[in-house]
């Protein structure tokens, strides 16, 4: 069975490319003034004002366990919304590269250990030309932080 190709936005942390499925992405904005929220999870940088909506912003670097770097002019916040009417969440990345199409057959699932939660953030590795792209499981990342 051939799965339909999906579109992904390629973002970079340092030199490493990551893919985020395009259907979750609402917009990509430049860095904003972020208001710190005391005692929040360490990877949450705080909240921003997105056209009147308060949106929490997390650092993808910290979430994935990397060291933080200084913001540059290429730093972007990717606004994702998992449900149509649901709350938005902002993800800070070093750079946004391009949009690519990957068929399901281009993505190989990882055999990961359930206990390693960093690995659950990955949906698999996509092959695009010579590059290997780590496809991020955005919903798993967000669900983990959802509080009831």
């Amino acid at each position: 069975m051939v799965e339909e190709a999906k579109q992904y936005i390629i973002v970079k942390l340092g030199e490493d490319p990551y893919g985020i499925e395009i259907k979750y992405i609402e917009s990509i904005i430049v860095m904003q003034k972020i208001t710190r929220v005391p005692k929040a999870q360490s990877y949450f940088k705080g909240v921003i004002n997105l056209r009147g909506e308060i949106v929490p912003v997390l650092s993808l670097r910290k979430k994935l366990g990397f060291d933080e770097v200084e913001d540059t002019h290429a730093t972007r916040i990717i606004i994702v919304r998992l449900e149509e009417q649901g709350a938005a969440i902002g993800i800070i990345v070093d750079e946004v590269k391009e949009v690519i199409s990957l068929a399901g057959s281009d993505i190989s699932k990882l055999n990961y250990d359930d206990k390693n939660d960093k690995a659950t953030y990955s949906l698999g590795i996509g092959k695009f030309g010579d590059h290997l792209i780590n496809i991020l499981n955005i919903s798993a990342m967000a669900e983990q932080d959802k509080q009831n």
């Binding site: 005391p38 005692k39 949450f44 308060i54 929490p56 709350a87 969440i89």
Partner: protein, 689 residues
């Protein structure tokens, strides 16, 4: 026919009718001869039956029908209102409420037939009517005469001929005749299978109005619309056209079985009446010379209120919030540049500010609902509890017209119910005990609501035994919640506050009504979630009083903006008492805590920058190193002093949720957007006190 579009209206109106039935049944139980009440009950039950039938809820219709029969007997004076009867009727209402709940969930009424209630109703009906032979014959003769009337009219389908006209209507007919217009009487027969008789009648009338003017409808336009008629109704139309044209036009409306029409002739008696009164009318006639418009007499009294979906109000409220943010933006832009110097600009900004404030108030008011819609079910509940607990008690309510935001109203019902149940079950002593201590054996529970400044206060009070503070103290020690040492030091008030701790029930026995250990803490949580607070006051032997304070509005508040370190925070103005400059040297240590003595009050000092992990503001520290800026906040009877670095000023802010993804401490109650687009967090200082 698809009736789903009417479902919402059906649900709303059914709720209203059920509530009205509940209230009036309670009155009826106390005043069995109150004619207005029984009429009101009958009317509500009748409408309910009609609506349920229209929507195809057969079980609901059947139950209301049987209840209506009982009401009808009571109205006719053939049946006495007894406590048992009211019990069964209440059970019937509960069953109807269950149907409604099912409909709300699945649009289906469910499969519960409630046979037992219907049987009980029918038994009562049999007993009541059979009990007196006389009434039975009376009913029989009544139906007999009714039959004769029916017989008489049956032969003649022109029912309109038997309708008695009012004087002004006769007048109108006469004038029409004088002007050479036809007055046509019609009787319209609707098909038996018609589902929406009201709508059909409306369509027929509209058709008739195209040809002329309707001067009388029998039954009235309102009754037709409410479907309070059988399958036929009559109309009088002033028209240029012939009766045949009208009849044909009306018969063209679908689901109309038959229309009979003819020129209507005034009887001699009618004519005489008119001539008698015409003298007085002549002047007027000379002035206008016009046929009185039929619309005037047909026009129904229009209700001056509109049903609005709460979501639409939410959208409106959001837009107002946006507007206020935009206004704040304008102000902050102007204060940064030289525009401020332009006085005309300044005036306009002030004008805009007034408008937004008024707009906010108006929108807020439309969202306000009288608390009545929540509390009006309580008398019924207390009646049930009286039976269940075998304690006589009365509920006295005041301030039912006090208004609260709709979102608060929706949430406040459960906590209040809980407090009332508590008062009934634990608060009030048994009737015998009350008599022993010389109290009125019938216990009293009070529910008072009133506005106090920017808050609405709701008090739930009983004249029962009060809370035994020592009992709670001992129990808390037994449970290990506090140590004996702590208990020594705690004031009575502190002890009473323990009641609001999770799983702390003082009832010795767990009863069906309350006392399962989930109670006051849930009430407290809920009220705090609404931005309110609750406290308890009690006097042994005299009763207990639970006082709930709720904010009038949730979305937009006045706040004091402050700097803590480099960050801006908003403190709700409502909880702030004063702002003081305190010498660092005047801060004392007590039990390891920093306190100050402010005009006789010992107030603990809280360093917000430590709680919020803020960076220290180095420069400012240098300037006023010997003084601290302290915001004094008050919660109930207690104070706390909060150290801030700088005051920015007072501002109207819009409260926004911070979302569910980010974890934030309890002290942060939300966020707001400042004039410059930045986000500032709102601190719920009450959590610190």
């Amino acid at each position: 026919m698809d009736v789903s579009q009417y479902l919402e209206i059906f649900i709303d109106e059914t709720k209203e009718h059920l509530q009205s039935l509940n209230e009036h049944l309670l009155i009826l139980e106390k005043e069995p001869d109150n004619e207005n009440t029984i009429n009101e009950i009958f009317r509500a039950a009748h409408s309910l039956k009609g609506m349920a039938g229209t929507m195809g809820y057969k079980r609901m219709q059947r139950l209301t029908h049987d209840m209506e029969n009982v009401f009808s007997e009571v109205r006719g004076g053939n049946m006495k209102v007894s406590s048992e009867l009211v019990d069964i009727l209440f059970r019937g209402l509960d069953a109807l409420e269950n149907y409604l709940a099912n409909i709300l969930e699945s649009t289906e009424e469910g499969t519960e037939d409630n046979e037992d209630i219907i049987n009980a109703l029918n038994n009562i009906l049999k007993g009541g009517v059979g009990g007196s032979q006389e009434t039975e014959t009376k009913v029989a003769t009544n139906t007999a005469t009714a039959n004769i009337v029916a017989q008489a009219t049956k032969d003649d389908k022109h029912k309109y001929k038997n309708i008695k006209l009012e004087e002004h209507e006769i007048n109108a007919i006469k004038k029409a005749n004088d002007m050479g217009l036809n007055v046509v009487g019609l009787t319209v027969y609707i098909q038996e299978s018609c589902v929406l008789k009201g709508a059909r009648a409306f369509m027929v009338n509209r058709t008739l109005e195209e040809h002329g003017e309707i001067i009388k409808l029998d039954p009235s336009a309102q009754d037709l619309e409410d479907e309070n008629y059988d399958l036929d109704y009559s109309a009088f139309v002033i028209t240029k056209d012939t009766p045949e044209i009208l009849a044909k036009a009306a018969a063209n409306v679908s689901e109309v079985k038959e229309v009979v029409a003819d020129i209507y002739q005034l009887s001699e008696v009618d004519k005489a009446i008119v001539t008698a009164s015409n003298e007085a009318m002549k002047k007027q006639k000379a002035k206008s010379g016009k046929v009185p418009t039929a619309k005037k007499s047909v026009k129904q009294v229009v209700n001056r209120s509109v049903r609005v979906d709460i979501e639409k109000l939410d959208v409106l409220m959001n837009l107002v919030s946006e507007l206020i943010i935009a206004k704040n933006g304008l102000i902050s832009v102007s204060s940064e540049s030289d525009i401020m110097l332009d006085s005309a600009y300044h005036e306009q900004i002030e004008y805009l500010e007034r408008i937004t404030t008024n707009l906010h108030e108006s929108v807020m008011k439309t969202r306000m609902v009288p608390i009545e819609s929540v509390v009006n079910r309580f008398p019924r509940m207390i009646r049930d509890l009286t039976k269940k607990l075998n304690k006589n008690m009365e509920l006295y309510m005041t301030g039912e017209d006090t208004e609260l935001d709709r979102t608060v109203i929706d949430e406040i019902g459960d906590p209040l119910m809980h407090l009332l149940r508590n008062a009934a079950d634990h608060g009030l002593e048994s009737n015998e005990e009350r008599e022993k201590v010389g109290k009125n054996p019938v216990g009293s529970i009070f529910l008072d609501a009133y506005q106090e400044g920017n808050n609405v206060v709701i008090e739930v009070r009983d004249d029962g035994a009060g809370i035994n503070v020592d009992k709670i103290r001992n129990k808390a020690i037994d449970k290990g919640s506090i140590t004996e040492e702590q208990a020594e030091r705690m004031s009575d008030k502190d002890i009473i506050d323990l009641l609001f701790q999770p799983s702390f029930s003082t009832a010795e026995e767990v009863s069906d009504v309350s006392g399962r250990g989930v109670g006051l803490d849930v009430v407290k949580t809920k009220i705090e979630a609404l931005g309110g607070e609750i406290e308890a006051k009690t006097k042994l032997g005299e009763g207990t009083n639970f006082i709930i304070r709720l904010p009038l509005t949730l979305a937009i508040i006045q706040a004091l903006m402050v700097n803590i370190g480099t960050e801006k925070y908003a403190l709700p103005l409502g909880s702030i008492q004063t702002v003081e400059n305190i010498l660092i040297s005047s801060i004392k240590k007590a039990q390891g805590k920093e306190v100050i003595n402010l005009r006789g009050n010992i107030i603990p000092i809280i360093h917000l920058n430590q709680i919020l992990d803020c960076e220290k503001l180095e420069v400012a520290e240098e300037e006023d190193a010997n003084e601290l800026l302290v915001v004094i906040v008050k919660k109930g009877e207690r104070y706390a002093g909060i150290v801030v670095d700088k005051l920015i000023g007072q501002q109207e802010i819009v409260i926004k949720s911070i979302g569910k993804y980010i974890k934030c401490p309890k002290i942060i109650s939300g966020a707001t957007i400042l004039g410059n687009g930045e986000v500032a967090l709102i601190l719920d200082v009450n959590t610190l006190v």
